[in-house]
Symmetry: none
Subunit: 191 residues, 4 copies
Amino acid sequence: MSGAQREKHEVILDSAFEIFGQKGFYETKISDITEHAGIAKGTMYLYFKSKEELFIAVTKRDWEKFLRDLQFRIKQADGLMPKLQQVAEHHLEYYYERKSHGKLFFHAPNNDPELMRLMHGFLTRYMAAVKEVLEEAGMPDPDFYAKAFIGMLDRLKMDILFEGEFTREELQQRVEQTVRLFMRGSEAELS
Amino acid sequence: MSGAQREKHEVILDSAFEIFGQKGFYETKISDITEHAGIAKGTMYLYFKSKEELFIAVTKRDWEKFLRDLQFRIKQADGLMPKLQQVAEHHLEYYYERKSHGKLFFHAPNNDPELMRLMHGFLTRYMAAVKEVLEEAGMPDPDFYAKAFIGMLDRLKMDILFEGEFTREELQQRVEQTVRLFMRGSEAELS
Amino acid sequence: MSGAQREKHEVILDSAFEIFGQKGFYETKISDITEHAGIAKGTMYLYFKSKEELFIAVTKRDWEKFLRDLQFRIKQADGLMPKLQQVAEHHLEYYYERKSHGKLFFHAPNNDPELMRLMHGFLTRYMAAVKEVLEEAGMPDPDFYAKAFIGMLDRLKMDILFEGEFTREELQQRVEQTVRLFMRGSEAELS
Amino acid sequence: MSGAQREKHEVILDSAFEIFGQKGFYETKISDITEHAGIAKGTMYLYFKSKEELFIAVTKRDWEKFLRDLQFRIKQADGLMPKLQQVAEHHLEYYYERKSHGKLFFHAPNNDPELMRLMHGFLTRYMAAVKEVLEEAGMPDPDFYAKAFIGMLDRLKMDILFEGEFTREELQQRVEQTVRLFMRGSEAELS
DNA sequence: AATGAATGAGGCTTCATTCAT
DNA sequence: GATGAATGAAGCCTCATTCAT
C-alpha cells in the first residue's frame, strides 16, 4: 500500500469513527461517511469489503490504541495504587475524549461473529492487564477484583458520556474516589 | 380496553420481548414478532404506533418490574449489608433470567429521544433506590458509592450473559464477594 | 393461494415473459416488469424470491406448455410422417408466435445451476418425445435422427425470429420441405 | 500500430476470448480480462472503446477465422459429398475446440445493433458458402437446404458443448451420419 | 504508452407501514 | 377488531469508465 493509499485508508477510518460514533452502526449510511471524508461512495469499497468490515476496522483501531496506551501507563507507574490510578484515569479519560462518540460503544452490528470475537478478545486483554497488576501485588482472586474494578469505572463512564457538564477536575476526583473505594471499601460501619 | 384486548396487548409485548431480546432492535422484523405471537402483521399497529414505540413499551414494562421488585426486596431486608445483598442478588438474577435476551440491552434504536429519556429515567431511579439505602446508613457521598456499586454489578453481568456455564451457586458467590469488596475494599496492603 | 393471488402471480409472469422476451435477462430491470404489470416493485418479491427465480418460472411455464402441446399434437396424428409434420409445425409455430420474444431464448442468466438443469431437462424431454415417434416407426439410431430433425427446425426458427416478413404460408412450406428432406434426403446425385 | 502494440492488442483479445467464453458477456468484468492478460484495467481502453466493442472484436476475429478456414476446406475437397463432409467436420470441430467457451455463443450483449448486424452478416456468409456448394451440384432450393444442413450440425454441437465425454471418433461418426441423412434421408418407409 | 485509484450512476432487494376487505 | 397483500422509500454494493501521474 502506497503512502497516499495508507493516508486515504486512515481518512476513511477517521470519518467512520466520527459518524459511527455519533449515529451508531445502523443509522449510519455509507454515504454519510464518504461525504464526510470528501470521497466518493465507491472509494470506501476499495479499502474495506463492507460496512461491517469498516465498523470492525474502526473498533479494532480504537481498542488497540486503548490497550497500547494502557500498557504504557501501567509500566510508567510504580506500586499498586499508582498503577490502579493510571488504569482508572486511562479508562475515564478515554471516554472523556470520546464524549461525542457514545454510539460507537452501544450500537455495533448484531450477529456479526467476527465482531463478537473481536470484542471479547479486547475485553479479555483489558481484564488481563488489570489482573496482572493485582497479581503482582499479591491480591487473592485477582480475576474477580479486576472485573469489579473495571465495572466501577465503566459505570462512571456513563456520567461522562451523558452529562454534558463533566469537567476534568471531577474526573480526577472520581479516579481517586474509585481507587480508594477499591482499596479500602466504603468504610461503612458493618451493620 | 377489554379483557381480550389487554391480553393481546400482552401477547405482543411478550413476543416482542422475546425477539428483540434475541436479535436486537434493528435485526428484528415486525413480522418476526407477529409470527411468533401468532397474529397478523397489521394487528401490531392496532396496539402500538410503530416499531420504536413497541420497543419502548417492552423496555418500560421490563424496567418497571425490575424497579418494583427491587423496592420490595429492599423493604424486606434489614440493615445496610442485607439490603446491599438484596440489591446485588436482584441485579444479577435479573440478568441471569435474561441470559438469552442479551440483545435487549445492547441494541436499542438510536436517536430516539423518547427512549433516551426513558432509559435515563430508569437508571436514575435505580441509582436513587441504592443511594437511599446508603444514605440511611449514614454513608458520605452516597451518589458516588451507589454508582460504583451498581457498576461492579453491571460488569459482572457480562459473565452471566456471555458465559454459558454460569450457575446459581457462582452467582451467590459473586453477590457476597461484591458486597464484601464494597464494604471493606480489597484489603490490599497500601503501597 | 387465493384466486386473486393466483391471478397476480400470472400477471407478473405474463409481464416478465413480455419484457424478458424483448430485452433478455440482464437488460431487464425488475421495475420494467412491475411497471408493465401495473404493480409496485416490492410486490414482485411477494411472489418470487429473486429476479433469477422469476426468470426460471417464466421459462418453466413456457416450456411446459410447449411440451404439453407437443404431446397433444403427436397423439392426434397417425403415422410417422403426419407425426413429424406435427412436430415441425409445432416447433416453428411456437417461434412464430414468439417472434417478438427472441431474447428469451438467448439471454438467460449465466451460471445459474438451477436454470441449467431445467433447460437440460426440457431439451431432453423434447428429444425423447421425437425419439419415441421415430422408434415407433422402427427407425434405427433414433437418438441421432431426433437431434438432427430438431436441429433443422431450430435453424429455421432463426429466419422466423429475425426476418420480419415471414408469413404463415412460408412457414407451412418450410414444414413440408423439412419433413421431406428428413425422409428422403436432398436427393442429390451421389458424387 | 507498432509490433509491440499489435501484440498487446492480440493479448487482450486472447484473454477476452477466454473469459467471455467461460462467463459470457454480462458476467465478465473488465478486470477479469485485464488481470488474466496481465495488464492494467485502463490499458484495455487504449485498444478498445468499450466492453461492447471488445466483445464485438472477439466475436469478429473468431468468426473471420471460422469462415476463412471453411473456404479453405471447401476448396480442398472435390465433389458434393466430400465438400459437405468438410463443412460438417469444420462446424463440429470448431465447437469441439471451443468446448470450454460455450458462453461465448449464448451470452452476447443485448440490444447492441452493431453486434446484431455483425452476427447476421456472419450467418449469411456461412450460409452462402454452403449454398454455393449445393448450387454447384445443381441442387434445387439451395437456400433451404443450406439452412437445414447447418441446422442439423448446429444441433449436434450442443452434445459437444455440454457432454463432457465426447471423443473425436464420435465426432467423425456424427459427421458421416449427418451427411448421409442429408443426402439420402432417414430412409424410413413412407407411412 | 501504461497504470490503477477514484468515480458515481444504477439496480436489486428489504421491510415498516397502510388500508381495503 | 383482524387481516395480510400491497406499497415504495431507502441503502448497500458493483463495475464500466475516466484521468492524473
